[in-house]
């Protein structure tokens, strides 16, 4: 217990120092400010070896072996400079916000900007996710990206992040390390890009039998709408004049071929009145499953370009904080993202109080 608190204290101090020295930015350039360099285990073994050679030379009073041990000792210093200069000068760039679904690998792209050739780069996340430590299924604790060689120019690498739970996660710093050359030194940098990942709940497909969709805002609506399994653009409604920019798939080619002019076909799908996706109506008892079902539905509706609204209130009673729990019926990419984000960040009222 004491050890843990000491460790925590130490980490805290180190983190504050690190924040001051390597502040968060979207573009980092490696220089003396943010590079750390230390001998590896092999480096220490090498030093021991050089000392052993020195002992050998002294005991045998052999000058040439002594010269060799001095040469190897100063070689150690040269390799330190060499490793440092291989590492420094690299530029890294990454956008701050990313999103993805739970229990899936979310890719965080990082762009490497180099002016010369660099060797042996390893990228990974600096913080070990606490959940991974407990799982014994995966042998590898962390996914690391390894670059053997990095040519001059821009290279894009993708760091995979396995998201276990929904929510907004600060994944912390990215650690870039290099053991070039000879493996004697490890030069590393922990860079903060203020990465924030919004993890949406894992979409779970909902069974048709379990599901009833409330048609309207009012209580007694009982529409005959079923879950639309396929995106239906069923019925042809009208022809309109072709406007420049419309999809070529919509053009009424028959009419065009006949010389009647350019028209585009418009369809209508059968929709009931604006549906509300309500948390309270999800079949499962588990909150997470409910959110998962909602997520799936949000995705389906957005994909079929139908309007929907999202209601995440628990008891049906409105209060001041309901403003971010109810999303007015809308369609589009922004609406979808807003809904998914709300689902990701949903916290049960009981927990808050």
């Amino acid at each position: 217990m004491a050890a843990n608190s000491f460790k925590a204290f130490f980490h805290h101090r180190f983190d504050t120092w690190l924040k001051r020295r390597v502040p968060s930015r979207s573009h980092h350039q490696l220089s003396r400010q943010n590079i750390f360099i230390m001998p590896t285990k092999f480096g220490f073994a090498y030093l021991l070896f050089v000392f052993l050679l020195f002992l050998l030379a002294t005991n045998y009073q052999n000058n040439i072996i002594m010269l060799m041990s001095y040469l190897l000792a100063s070689f150690f210093i040269s390799v330190m400079m060499h490793s440092f200069y291989n590492f420094s000068g690299l530029g890294f760039q990454s956008t701050a916000k990313h999103s993805g679904f739970a229990k899936q690998t979310i890719n965080v792209p990082v762009t490497i900007i180099a002016t010369k050739q660099h060797f042996d780069l390893t990228l990974s996340f600096a913080k070990q996710p606490k959940q991974l430590k407990q799982s014994k299924q995966s042998k590898q604790q962390q996914q690391k990206i390894y670059l053997e060689q990095c040519h001059a120019g821009n290279t894009e690498v993708v760091l995979p992040y396995m998201a276990k739970q929904r929510g907004t996660v600060n994944i912390g710093r990215i650690k870039i390390a290099s053991e070039y050359s000879f493996g004697l030194f490890v030069a590393w940098a922990v860079l903060d890009f203020s990465h924030q990942i919004t993890v949406y709940p894992q979409p779970k497909k909902i069974n048709a039998n379990q599901y009833r969709l409330a048609g309207q805002d009012s209580q007694n609506a009982n529409s005959t709408n079923y879950a639309n399994q396929s995106a239906g653009l069923d019925d042809f409604s009208e022809l309109k004049n072709y406007v420049l920019g419309e999809s070529r798939a919509r053009i009424a080619w028959k009419q065009f071929a006949r010389g009647q002019g350019r028209y585009t076909k418009h369809y209508q799908s059968q929709q009931g009145s604006l549906p509300w996706l309500k948390l309270s109506e999800m079949p499962s008892a588990n909150l997470e499953s409910q959110l998962s079902y909602l997520c799936y539905l949000v995705l389906e509706y957005s994909h079929s370009e139908q309007r929907f609204g999202l209601d995440l209130t628990v008891n049906g009673s409105s209060s001041a904080s309901d403003v971010d729990k109810k999303f007015a019926p809308n369609v589009g990419f922004v609406h979808q993202n807003a809904c998914l984000t709300a689902l990701a960040n949903f916290k049960q009222r009981a927990r808050e109080s």
Partner: protein, 731 residues
């Protein structure tokens, strides 16, 4: 190039690196090959062949097709059971033969065996590291046995190869040449600090006793029979070197380097008198040491003796020294306190005019008069006759020498064998022999005639090498070079004791072959030697070709300087130099010097990287781009500039319209350039495409010459029409 594996779990090497590992083992083991026994060499060769077999059978694995063919080093693995069996049997074999080898050589055997076997077991990266460090340690061990300049440079080369191997593990795509270039540059950059440390870092005395090399003895032995030194004389190995430090070198005929005196004769061979006298010396004189009485002028010189694994050291007569590691013997010879198993440097002050042992003890006299009666009856009779004729000892000796000179006596390497080493047979019948024959029979005669006499062995003369003459010697008459004494200079002569003079040197060889004593071997002798010995290029032939001889002398001089300055840089020498430079407060100044050297090295390193970085920033374009730009500039001269906003495709369309006869070539050029610029190719394909691109550019520039430069207006018009075209891309 980008893969997602955890590197520490399994260790992969690309194919050429795996072969480099194999080659590394081969050269590391070969550096120690002279010290290993034949059966061990056979086992190692077997191991290496097995590895080579496994390597060559390994097909390219599917780990990362981008890296060429990567080999998982577990392909080279044997089953651990077989490996264990082999290891144990090897250890037992080494333990059994350790007794005959000595501890050091047994250790070396064990090390090389472990090194060869470890290569079968490289699974993880730390195994690879251990293996590499073991290889470098083997190189260091090789330096225990041989340290001359050539070998040291060879070891340096092997060190570079070993380091390149480690480097390759981290830069797998790099060609071997680039990797070794990086290593060599790094070593050069570290040499500054290394040399400073070597000069300045305090030299410590040995921490504990270590097993020394225990090789076969070379050089003079303390048991001499007729014909022994003739055998030794077939060798052209270096025995020792002497440096007179700018003083004039004594004449050749006075350079009698005494090694040991042989006073016991049993009728067949001469041996050292090491019982009574030495025993006395050890108990009583150990504290005092033997102090020879000196008189006359002194010559100071430094001798560097090659390892002979015997205790004899060489000096001109009546030698004194202040070196505590040397022992002065009662018979005016010098020995080392320990066996000479490494190069030994020692300082001697000799008084050539001082007499040796003006008084002779009764014991000594008895010993030096003892002959085995009946072993050589004819000689005994002759001695009695001569004594009657010449009562004076000196005259007697002159008479014997006159016999040698006037009668038909031959000095030859191929003396006929003597039955029972009979000196009678030599003196009266065969009359042909080498130095021991003459010295032996002379000594016997003198003893039989009642004059105490003994045989002295050592070396005579030495080759003067002026090439190592330091430029700093201002005096023209002084000879700054050094003397090299080889095994073929080994010699045996005689000393007789005269009342009032002490031990007086008489060399019968001077009577038989005066050239030998005044200048060295006659060409006849050299020719004889070259026929008899097994040298690849005999010394005789080398000495005949002037330029080859000069080359040999130059190499010898370089080796000498190396031996003297680097190998001989002892603690005392360091102390002297540092005292001269720093005066007081040596430790602080030493530390300061080391720190300065460190910072200077790092500063130079930084400078080096700034310069190479500046060089890099100029080369931002890839070679393909550079070639394409060449073409563009050529076209621009004719009036066809590619606008910044135009893509390569657009520009090729422009060319297609303006210069139709160029268009085919130029379109192809553009497409090749785009391939090179935007796609990844292997090295070979890249080269092929670059060649194609270059060819196209040449064709285009050639064809361009026929086009006259377009006027400025026409160019404007063409660019306007071009812009109109690209308004509606969908048409």
């Amino acid at each position: 190039m980008i893969n997602n594996t955890d590197q520490t779990l399994s260790f992969n090497l690309p194919k050429n690196s795996a072969w480099l590992l194999w080659g590394c083992q081969l050269v590391n083991i070969s550096s120690l090959a002279a010290e290993l026994s034949t059966w061990m060499l056979a086992i190692l060769a077997l191991c290496l062949c097995w590895q080579a077999l496994l390597l060559s059978r390994q097909k390219a694995s599917n780990v990362s097709p981008n890296v060429g063919s990567a080999i998982k080093l577990d392909a080279v693995r044997m089953s651990p059971f077989i490996l264990m069996l082999l290891a144990i049997s090897g250890c037992i074999a080494i333990a059994v033969s350790a007794r005959s080898f000595g501890v050091l050589i047994a250790m070396v055997h064990l090390l090389t065996f472990a090194y060869a076997l470890k290569a079968f077991e490289i699974k993880k990266r730390k195994d690879f590291y251990q293996h590499s460090l073991l290889g470098v340690f083997l190189l260091a061990c090789a330096l225990i046995f041989k340290q001359d300049l050539g070998f040291s440079l060879f070891i340096l080369l092997l060190l570079v190869i070993n380091l390149t191997l480690i480097h390759q593990a981290f830069a797998k795509r790099n060609s071997l040449f680039n990797a070794s270039k990086t290593v060599v540059i790094l070593l050069l950059q570290s040499s500054l600090l290394a040399i400073t440390l070597f000069v300045v870092f305090p030299r410590l005395s040995p921490f504990w006793q270590v097993p020394m090399a225990n090789s076969a003895k070379t050089g003079l032995s303390d048991v001499v029979s007729p014909g022994d030194i003739a055998n030794l004389a077939l060798s052209s190995e270096l025995a020792f070197r002497a440096n007179f430090k700018g003083e004039s070198i004594p004449a050749y005929s006075t350079l009698y380097w005494r090694a040991m005196t042989l006073e016991n004769y049993d009728g067949r061979k001469w041996t050292r008198a090491n019982n009574n006298e030495q025993g006395q010396h050890n108990t009583k004189a150990k504290q005092q040491g033997f102090n020879p009485t000196t008189s006359g002028t002194a010559i100071s010189y430094q001798v560097i003796a090659q390892p002979s694994f015997q205790p004899w050291l060489f000096a001109l007569s009546v030698a004194t020294t202040t070196d505590p590691k040397l022992v002065l013997k009662q018979d005016y010879t010098i020995q080392s306190t320990t066996i000479v198993n490494q190069l030994k440097h020692y300082q001697i002050k000799s008084y050539p005019d001082a007499p040796l042992a003006l008084s002779l003890s009764q014991q000594s006299r008895q010993r030096n008069l003892a002959i085995k009666p009946g072993s050589n009856p004819k000689l005994e009779q002759l001695a009695v006759d001569l004594k009657a004729k010449h009562p004076n000892s000196l005259a007697l000796s002159q008479a014997i020498l006159a016999t040698f000179r006037e009668q038909k006596y031959y000095y030859t390497l191929q003396a006929p064998m003597l039955i029972n080493n009979s000196l009678d047979q030599f003196y009266f019948d065969t009359k042909a022999g080498f130095c021991v024959h003459y010295a032996s029979s002379f000594t016997y005669l003198m003893r039989a005639a009642g004059v105490p006499a003994r045989v002295v062995t050592g070396y005579l003369g030495g080759e003067y090498n002026d090439e190592s003459n330091d430029a700093s010697s201002e005096d023209n008459s002084s000879q700054g070079g050094h003397l090299s004494i080889y095994q073929y200079d080994a010699h045996a002569w005689s000393e007789i004791w005269l009342e009032g003079t002490g031990w007086y040197r008489v060399d019968p060889t001077a009577a038989v072959d005066p050239e030998r004593v005044s200048k060295g071997w006659s060409s006849a002798l050299l020719a004889q030697q070259s026929e008899l010995n097994s040298d690849f290029i005999s010394l005789y032939r080398i000495k005949q070709l002037a330029w080859l001889n000069t080359l040999r002398l130059k190499l010898d001089a370089i080796n000498y300087q190396w031996t003297r300055w680097v190998l001989g840089y002892s603690a005392k020498q360091q102390y002297d130099i540092l005292k001269r430079w720093f005066g007081q407060s040596m430790p602080w100044k030493t530390a300061a010097i080391i720190a300065m050297a460190l910072m200077l090295a790092m500063a130079l390193f930084t400078l080096f990287y700034w310069l190479s970085g500046a060089k890099n920033s100029k080369h931002k374009v890839s070679p393909a781009q550079a070639v394409y730009n060449q073409c563009l500039t050529a076209l621009a001269k004719k009036g066809f500039t590619k606008e910044r906003h135009q893509t390569t495709q657009q520009f090729s369309l422009v060319i297609h319209e303006q210069l139709p006869h160029l268009s085919a070539d130029f379109t192809e050029l553009t497409s090749v350039f785009e391939c090179l610029h935007y796609q990844q190719y292997s090295e070979q394909e890249q080269l092929a495409l670059m060649a194609q691109l270059a060819k196209k550019v040449r064709d285009v520039t050639k064809a361009l010459k026929s086009v006259s430069a377009m006027s400025h207006d026409m160019k404007k018009v063409s660019s306007i029409t071009n812009n109109k075209k690209y308004k509606n891309p969908q048409q």
